[in-house]
Amino acid sequence: MNISYRWLQALLPGLNESPQRVADHLAMQGAPVDELVDLGGPLREVRIARVIERRQHPNADRLSLCRVDAGTGEELQVVCGAPNVRTGGVYPFIPVGGTLPGNVLIRKAKIRGYESQGMLCSARELGLGRDHEGILELHGDLPIGAAFTEAVQLDDYRLVVDVTPNRPDLLSHLGVAREIGAEAGIAPVLPAFPNQAEFPAPRLERGDAAGSASADGVSVRLEDTVLCPRYLGLVIRDVTIGPSPEWLAGRLRAIGQRPISNVVDATNYVLHELGQPLHAFDLDRLGSEVVVRKARPGEGLTTLDEAERVLGGRMLVIADAERPVALAGIMGGADTEVHPGTRNLLVECALFDPRSIRGTRRGLDLTTDASSRFERGVDATGMEQALRRVAVLIVTVAGGRVATAAADAGPGVSAPPPITLRQRRLTQVLGAEIPLADASRLLQPLGFRVEAADDQSLRVLVPGHRWQDVRAEIDLVEEVARRHGYDSFPAGLGGFRPTAVPDDPLMQLEDRLRSVMVGLGLLEARTAAFAPEAEGDVALLRPLSAAESRLRRALVPGLLHRVEFNFTRGSRHIRLFELGTAFAPGQTPPAETRRLALALTGARTPPHWSGPAESLDLWDLKGLLEEVASELGLRLEPGEPAAPWLEPAAAFRLVDGAGQVSGWGGKVRAAAIDAPPWAEPVFAAELLLESLPDRSRSSFRELPAFPASERDLSLLVPDVLDAADVIGTVTGAAGPLLEQVEPFDLYRGTGIPAGTRSLALRLRFRAGERTLTDAEVDGVVARVLKRLRESHGIERRG
């Protein structure tokens, strides 16, 4: 909401707080000022000037040559490029040596052979608007040579106020004035307009219970009094459409609005002053009947912005006897728009259901000053004031006669009952005691009517402009706290009872996994869970892009994209891990699993002068997974790849105690990643954190008291047989004396028959209560060899 500081001053006589103080106060009352714009400052050098004569530039078709009176006593020659400049027109003018906003210096220049001694300015050049409609023509009796900002009341400040959705009352100067006035001790007033027209206020011609009313030959009928609870229609005849006087146009420019014509500007002015949207129809194009109803299927409307709108059946329209003439509460229609030849008006001041307006605004994607107020809620008690105010303003600036009565259709909105504010509740929520007498003193300046209900509570009547957001006791508690000032509450830390919620165990597990990963030299990545269709099963209804149209089913593909990104940045040693969520379809909402994923490529260690760094290989990945597996209580086994990005012959599965697969990893298939030619192999893994590992403490075990005996066996093992199977056979045959078996060498080549390999195992034997004899150990080894021969045909080498 744009607020003019001068406008506020007009509503709050005697306000002498600086614009900055006003902005600070609004911020501390919940309506921060995003921007405080000094409108006059950059325009200090702009003067009011009159074009004495405009003629064609002899050397350029699109330029004109103007004789300009800028009040300096001498005539100036100005070359101008805008088509709308005319003899006798009054315009803002910057003489040579002056500056435009943005510190653009105006120099003496020769344009196609003729000297230009200054510049006639457009609204855009002055920072007052965006339109390119040529030089800004000024209206009314303005002193030539005077400072522009004073003459058009732009020695002003614009406050860009950030209004929260609960405070529609702040979408008006009066609403903001109430907040500032409450603090400054000034009651807002509506000032008289310059040369204000005087006439008796029109009577309200109340209609019947069904929602019909008529006055001055115009009848109003409401088909749905829920969607439109009240509609005031006032006829004004014999107006003269023309430009607004500069005081009115200046006010609108100060808040960034473009002046259009006196009547339209008047409705716009009152909207920004009081917050009540208003609309003026050309009565002669409207007919004598106004119906507020839902649009009929297939109906359309060309709105003021020249757009042809197709209306849906739930949209509320203003119609005449045959057709819609306006989108209720949003925008008028082009047909019945006020135009230069308009003589007679119907002024609408209505109340619409916020939900209905919101639905139509969304449906048409059309937000206007009117719609943004109606959908948040307009003061139902302020309608008559707004209608009177706009009638006075129209007659003041456009002449005409106001009808003696206005049609007043619809039941209106009834006032909510008073709210009780208890001392006990106030103290309980705030934690500090504000006596009810103080609360009452804080509430009243905002328009609340307060009386004592008993000695422990107040009865509070809410003013119409706060019906939207003050509905219950807690809302009054906030009002009291807000007016008291949040900074005025103490902030000493007191005691508290310990929480009944245990620290989340899955987060604790993730902490441990993060420590393991970081300790192993990996960098944590965080990626968004969005994925293209190929990588996700849960679709977003309105995705931002095709690449982000799903929620991911797994983490590794996204992580591989991050590896690719790092390749493009020239990084070759990449070690990423991520703890994140994956989504599966089939349930509502979709099922989620937390997962750990990792992706590695590059050298095993940072480069070192002592020798070339070796590339990471499958065994680095397996070792890393073994560490993670032990943290999670999982087992690693070679297995069928469960993920399409894995190379089938180089993949592992992680399996839990029950045999359930909880993860997979291995070498990434070349086709699954877009890698540059210099890249080294990429390895990746993904683990599901589905169940929390057993964290029970393990007990002390006696350390061995007797020495171990070791025996090395070199075995010729067929290639088809896994070492794990051989070790299984060894373990089974050796019995309880075998403490450990560990492969310590693998050899293929000379002396080893084709199709076999030499696998060297170190066997460690120990007994708990005595030293083993060589004979005992040799006996076990013989048994082992015999079993290997019988089961697998494995022989001891050489």
Binding site: I474, V477, D487, G494, D504, R526, P590, W609
Partner: protein, 341 residues
């Protein structure tokens, strides 16, 4: 002079003589002088051991043997130096870099989340978790945000199906926890939230938020102020100034916005704080009674406060990232920059 002193003196003399021997011949002469069979000085000392009393003999013998080993080693080392011509033996250049391992690091957002949770742990808060895909009841309705309320009219909400959405904020965790557990409650819920905002310098379609909630009998707005002020001082530094401004959230009332004095300029005004001296850090407020009713709590008995903040935003402030996208590119060069012990 007793035997021990005699041995020490001999060893010092030997070290000097060995180091001073410049040729193999000179070294041989030194060797004969010390260990020679006839007149070597150590040989003589060892010969004399036999005259000592029997109870002193073992200790003295051991000491003499240690001296002999030591001198022999020195002679051998010097001999090898002389034999190699001296200069050819490589001196180890200890200025060369050691053999390093890759260093891992937590993501900057994790660093901030962990830091925030650690500060809040000190203030009695434990961590809680909730699902990322939620129903609109948990995300809006239960939090006193009717779906047709202007506050729920958020173009920036993604949907998965009618009524189902990747959560717009972490506030649903409040409801998830309070439905299950009776007060006292003090929790902080970090997690990912989703907004229909394309990536730009200050927006991301998915980012991390932290939601805090404290509920018990007797918790008032002053406790909110005290707790969050203490939190801000611990996170941003003890000199941090804090201010609370009224604001609006459907699920809290009174609602507040907390600003801290600018972390960069200290409050004097700079480009990071848009010359205001303040930085907006979090939204907070007293839990709305309607939210308690939806949780099954008696709002006349229990009161509490809730607060929420963006971890990525705080990471940008604390680490000086100019652009939120840098946090989600996962460029390893950047991730390695922020290694913290």
């Amino acid at each position: 002079m007793d035997l021990r002193q005699e041995l020490e003196a001999l060893q010092r003399a030997a070290e000097q003589a060995i180091a001073g021997a410049g040729t193999p011949d000179a070294l041989e002469a030194v060797r004969i002088g010390l260990l020679g069979r006839k007149e070597g000085r150590l040989t003589e000392i060892m010969r004399g051991l036999g005259k000592l009393p029997a109870d002193e003999r073992p200790a003295a013998g051991a000491a003499a043997n240690r001296s002999k080993e030591c001198i022999t080693a020195l002679l051998d080392a010097r001999a090898s130096v002389l034999a190699g011509g001296g200069a050819a033996v490589a001196r180890v250049d200890l200025s060369m870099p050691g053999r390093r391992r890759w260093r891992g690091a937590r993501h900057p957002v994790t660093l901030v989340v962990d830091e925030i949770c650690a500060v809040l742990a000190g203030l009695g808060f434990t961590r809680a978790r909730g699902p990322e895909a939620e129903t609109d009841w948990y995300n809006f309705t239960a939090l006193n945000t009717p779906l047709d309320h202007p506050a729920a009219d958020m173009h920036d909400t993604f949907y998965l199906a009618p009524g189902v959405l990747p959560r717009r904020h972490t506030a649903p965790v409040q409801m998830r926890v309070t439905q299950q557990i009776q007060p006292p409650i003090r929790i902080v819920a970090p997690g990912t939230v989703y907004r229909r905002d394309p990536f730009d310098a200050s927006h991301a379609p998915a980012f991390e938020q932290l939601e805090g909630l404290a509920v018990d009998e007797g918790i008032g707005f002053v406790d909110l102020k005290a707790t969050l002020t203490e939190f801000a001082r611990q996170l941003f530094g003890s000199g941090t100034r804090v201010r609370f401004r009224p604001s609006f959230f459907p699920f809290t009332e009174p609602s507040a916005e907390m600003d801290v004095s600018c972390v960069l300029c200290g409050g004097g005004g700079c480009s990071a704080c848009k010359q205001t001296g303040w930085m907006e850090i979090m939204g907070a407020g007293m839990v709305h009674p309607a939210v308690f009713t939806n949780a099954g709590y008696d709002p006349e008995r229990y009161t509490g406060f809730a607060f929420g903040m963006g971890a990525a935003r705080i990471a940008m402030i604390l680490y000086g990232f100019p652009d939120i996208r840098l946090l989600y590119e996962n460029d390893v060069r950047l991730l390695e920059q922020l290694v913290r012990p």
